[in-house]
Assembly symmetry: C2
Homo-oligomer: 347 residues x 2
């Protein structure tokens, strides 16, 4: 399994809370003009010229991630992506993040560094400033809580609530891969437990693993839509699974929706993995979470602008609220869509 073989271990306890914070934050760069004050005071100070957009997400060890196969650097990177994805879903431009971490003494300082290396890499690539946070002990397990802050003119913010009848439903990229990546990792973990000498061969699944371990927020999609001169009427990001997010969008916009099974964008490796695991790929596309793609509606008249774009798939269209939310199968059957997304409280 993927593991940190680094033998260097410096105890957090010796460094202390302030020592650790100093250590982690020593190389933090501020690149956003809007950051007036970053780490180092009671609070950070931001000067946005447009509206401020704020989102927050918490990742909990044993619930959202398993450190037996998730490298800490990837985890740090992904924790930032999860939040930036929410900002892109508002059509906002991410500018700052705060990062709070609770972790047990069992983590050496080097492990915390790895986690922050992932966070800092994400900040660099997505041009956001790390402006604050909190670092504390926990009695067990690692918890990461990130708040991401972005900016956008009030009129250009896109909510979940603007979809109208007949609007086209569009999704970026492809879906289901992150979920199948998780299945691969879980299977390899079980194999490793049974025989630690077994060398996993995950080459064929690299796309699935990357989607699970190192997702990218779709920074490019709002940019693309601007270039195409398309303004979505509503938008949401895919974190909990397509069916769940479609229901959110419909509920907020007071519309129904028809989704077409044949239009769901699935990578060939997802289909292959589903066959291998004896899973129905449509179910995975609807219920598998963590894709961090953008799901949005556009007006019918925008169809010509997006129809041939390889990054975008039109997967359905809005219908009047009373008509409900349905999947139209390849055989023409109409099946009601229920939220099958992830519920962290389920045992």
């Amino acid at each position: 399994m993927i593991e940190d073989k680094n033998p260097q271990r410096t105890s957090i306890e010796n460094l202390g809370e302030f020592g650790l914070i100093d250590h982690i934050t020593q190389n933090v760069e501020l690149n956003q003009d809007s950051t007036l004050k970053g780490i180092g005071d009671d609070a950070a100070v931001i000067n946005h010229t447009a509206s401020t957009v704020v989102t927050t997400d918490m990742l909990v060890e044993g619930i959202h991630f398993d450190l037996s196969y998730v490298p800490l650097k990837h985890l740090g990177y992904k924790a930032v992506m999860v939040n930036l994805s929410d900002l892109y879903a508002m059509n906002a431009v991410p500018t700052q993040i705060t990062v709070s971490i609770a972790m047990s003494n069992r983590f050496p300082v080097e492990a915390v560094e790895e986690l922050y290396n992932g966070i800092k890499l994400a900040c660099k690539i997505y041009n956001v400033d790390l402006i604050g946070g909190d670092t504390t002990a926990s009695q067990s397990g690692l918890i990461i809580s990130i708040t991401a802050i972005g900016e956008q003119k009030e009129d250009d913010i896109i909510y979940r609530s603007g979809a109208g009848d007949n609007d086209l439903l569009v999704v970026s990229g492809d879906i289901g891969a992150a979920y199948m990546g998780l299945q691969i990792l879980e299977r390899e973990k079980a194999v490793y437990k049974a025989n630690p000498n077994n060398q996993p061969d995950v080459e064929a699944y690299s796309y699935l693993l990357e989607r699970q371990l190192k997702p990218e927020a779709r920074k490019d999609i709002p940019k693309l839509l601007k270039e195409l001169d398309v303004k979505p009427t509503s938008m949401i990001d895919l974190s909990d699974g397509l069916s769940s997010e479609v229901i959110h969008l419909c509920k907020n916009s007071n519309v129904g929706m028809k989704l077409y099974e044949e239009k769901l964008p699935l990578d060939p490796t997802v289909i292959a993995a589903c066959e291998e695991f004896n899973l129905d790929s449509t179910t995975i596309a609807l219920s598998g979470g963590e894709d961090y793609e953008l799901l949005f509606t556009v007006k019918q008249e925008d169809f010509p602008k997006i129809k041939a774009n390889p990054s975008l798939s039109i997967i359905g269209h809005a219908v009047p609220n009373g008509e409900g939310i349905h999947l139209i199968t390849r055989s023409g059957e109409q099946i009601p869509i229920k939220a099958m997304g992830w519920n962290s409280f389920q045992e």
Copy 2:
């Protein structure tokens, strides 16, 4: 001990993550003009006319609080206070918070409600909007991560870095009481463990318990200073203990400091409790944390404006950086001040 005797228990698992969020957020009111969008989308939207001030703090069960004697409603209230205190320390006006919570299935929905009742009460009293957050399961224990957002004109924000030589060091209220409250609670817990029929008599310690269990952020102090026409040159809030915060202030302002033992504001009940516990009250004043008072420096010329104010105590003055940070004892001894504040990573 203080305990929730409410027998009603609804399982979180049955309600599910979205059900729980809907349940908790159903009565959330938005009162701030600057809140354009609260809970219910991928992110919240804020329209500040001045600079945005952001702080975040994480509270972890078993590290920052012990649910065997902390009522959940108080905990929720305090978690908000801890954050607002940081905003007041910047001279900012709190406007919004986000609240992320990880908790195990063992908590019934009623417990989560109690926690949120405390959070909502704090929002009401301090006029801040609850605009977002995250709710998730944890494998063990309760974790609360709050981000507080405030507003202030760029020129009116007060940093830790502005103290100059000879500036007076001022603290609001009194100190050490929250720490002594914690000692009382720990003692009563031990007594209760030894004999659960023993009825604790904590009447005499009500001030100490209130300071520990239900602290108030000093909303009134920035207002008072404005009325007195005093602008602090630097400011910080007292969360980790006076000595630790004085060191932060000095380090950021490049000054040394002389503190006078006889000037430290101690409530008589703190002195009495220290005697009872055989603790040195000066040590408690310097090292006991969680007072959430404001510590700030003012120019010498402002002395007449603050000298007689019952809410403010002048406890020392800045000296050139090379002269270090010292406590001048009642007997005139000069003792170097070292950070003795709290380190969550210490076992």
